[in-house]
């Protein structure tokens, strides 16, 4: 009897290699099976994925815009410059003398001299007030020296030192660092960046809840199936698997939708933005999401899908027991 039993048991169990092979095969099957299940209810699947997509597109789009803004303004920092407005009584030759003096300072790269005449011409051309200025018989504009600090000296203190040195020149009427507003912009962007981060965090949480709730409903719909699986010896891992893959698909599709939404938005605003930047004589091309960003978006989205379904399955699978 005993040997009979042992024979029965060996017959009853697949070998280790078979087990391993069918384990992987099983994963692949469930992978596509869960996709098939979703495609059977395309409308509700699409709606869930849309919710995930929109929730992820919002912080992702803001992030991309912010990156663009940072890139755009990144060029401005190196163009930090000090405008030195000379006193009106300074003549052109005096001004040129000061220019070459300052040029020799070790913390200065270059000094540009803008004569009163040139300043007036540029102002007339750019401002559109040309005719109004013509009506004046004297040129109201001072001559200006544009001083560029050495790049290595762009740190705050060095620039401030240079600024006060220029202010103390007796020919100077006024000297002003044109970087103040850039700095303010940076501060604002820092705040916005943090806001985007918090928004992203909250919306990621929302995605978790959406996936969790959807999976919870799926579990309830398939209550009977789960009971049967448990009755005939399905392990928790076996029963969990299709739901986890469902979460995976939700995450993947949600991520793709988010990517499409962001790309489409960037595309549709790129031409107005280019128009805007050419107005500022700035060559700028709006960049979309980089390959790496796209990958991380999809990765995060998939992880959220998996984690959301993991929580739902963990919470609700135990409650379903054959009675």
């Amino acid at each position: 009897m005993n040997s009979n039993k042992r024979k029965r048991e060996t017959l009853n169990r697949p070998g280790f290699i078979t087990l391993l092979r069918s384990y992987f095969l099983r994963h692949v099957q469930v992978f596509f099976y869960s996709l098939g299940q979703l495609s059977r209810v395309p409308i509700s699947t699409l709606m869930t994925c849309m919710v995930i997509g929109i929730a992820l597109a919002l912080p992702m789009g803001l992030h991309t815009l912010l990156k663009n803004a940072q890139q755009l303004s990144g060029g401005w920092e190196s163009t930090a410059q000090i405008s030195v407005f000379l006193k009106k009584k300074i003549t052109a030759s005096q001004a040129q003398k000061i220019q070459s003096d300052i040029q020799r300072w070790p913390d200065v790269i270059s000094v540009d001299y803008i004569s009163r005449e040139r300043a007036l011409k540029e102002f007339q051309a750019l401002s559109g007030f040309g005719d109004a200025l013509k009506a004046l018989n004297t040129n109201p504009l001072p001559s200006v020296l544009i001083v560029k600090p050495k790049l290595s000296q762009t740190n705050e203190q060095a620039t401030q030192k240079l600024l006060s040195k220029l202010r103390n020149l007796k020919q100077t009427d006024k000297a002003q660092l044109d970087m103040q507003w850039v700095r303010r912009l940076y501060a604002i962007m820092n705040i916005v960046e943090r806001g985007v981060l918090i928004l992203g965090f909250l919306l990621a949480l929302a995605v978790l809840l959406v996936v969790g709730n959807t999976i919870r409903l799926a579990i309830q719909n398939r209550r009977k199936e789960i009971v049967v699986m448990k009755l005939i010896g399905g392990t928790d891992a076996f029963i969990r698997r299709p739901f986890l893959y469902t979460g995976f698909w939700y995450g993947l599709f949600g991520g793709i939708i988010a990517w499409m939404l962001v790309s489409f938005t960037m595309l549709s605003i790129s031409s107005p933005i280019e128009k805007l930047t050419t107005l500022y004589q700035n060559q700028f091309e709006l960049s979309g999401m980089s390959f790496l960003t796209t990958l991380s978006l999809l990765g995060i989205s998939i992880i959220l899908g998996l984690v959301g379904s993991w929580f739902a399955v963990g919470r609700h699978l135990r409650e379903i027991e054959p009675q």
Binding site: I232, F238, P322
Partner: protein, 223 residues
């Protein structure tokens, strides 16, 4: 194969469904479990399949003390038991073939093996031509036989059946019982809960009778 030692089951409601039940079934034995409605037949089967745990006493199945089987091990334990229900517990959105294949898929058999075993099991219950049908299109007797095929496809050493002939006419019931006899003949232990006294009186098997949760009679067939 199955040994109950003073086993009792008290549900959380406080109801004593089984009290001090003791009996033993040898491997390969076939027996009926009978008694009035509410006597505790289903409860006893549930203790064996670990669908419930005994409140007192011991239940030993296949040399395993069930009190020592952890929650995590229950699925593996159940794979050695074929369970047949009055309401079949079939999945109606899957074909007959897929229903019967389920225990094999769960156990991780290879694709080829699954095909062979499923066809063998369906052949055994006389449903070989219906593997592509959905259970809903089958008669009650056929559905029950799909349930039996699923229970035995794994070749478990123990089969439990709870009212397997509940909705069937006498002729079909006899057919189902014949199937169980066949399994018993090849060394499978079979325990069938039923209140169909007329049916079991025709068959030469041991009968355990429950009354209000107590085992009141354990009769061997008159030879």
């Amino acid at each position: 194969m199955i040994r109950f030692v003073n086993a009792s089951k008290r549900y959380s409601s406080g109801f004593d469904a089984l009290q001090n039940v003791s009996f033993h079934m040898a491997p390969g034995e076939m027996a009926f479990l009978t008694g009035h409605s509410g006597a505790g037949k289903s409860s006893l089967l549930k203790l064996i399949a670990l669908l419930e745990r005994s409140s007192r006493g011991q239940v030993i199945v296949n040399n395993q003390n069930l009190a020592k089987v952890s929650r995590r091990r229950i699925p593996y334990f159940r794979r050695n038991i074929g369970i047949i229900f009055q309401d079949h517990q079939l999945l109606f959105d899957r074909t007959v073939y897929d229903n019967v294949a389920l225990p094999l898929i769960i156990a991780g058999f290879s694709h080829n093996d699954i095909g062979k075993r499923v066809r063998a099991a369906l052949d055994k219950v006389g449903l070989l031509g219906k593997e592509k049908k959905y259970p809903i299109t089958l008669s009650g007797g056929e559905q029950q036989r799909v349930g039996i095929a699923r229970a035995v496809v794994n070749k478990p050493p123990l089969i439990l059946a709870d009212e397997p002939t509940g909705n069937l006419d006498p002729e079909l019931s006899a057919e189902i019982m014949n199937l169980f006899q066949d399994f018993s003949d090849v060394g499978v232990t079979v325990l069938v809960a039923t209140h169909d006294i007329a049916l079991i009186s025709q068959l030469p098997y041991r009968t355990l009778t429950l009354k209000d949760g107590k085992l009141v009679n354990d009769s061997q067939p008159a030879l």
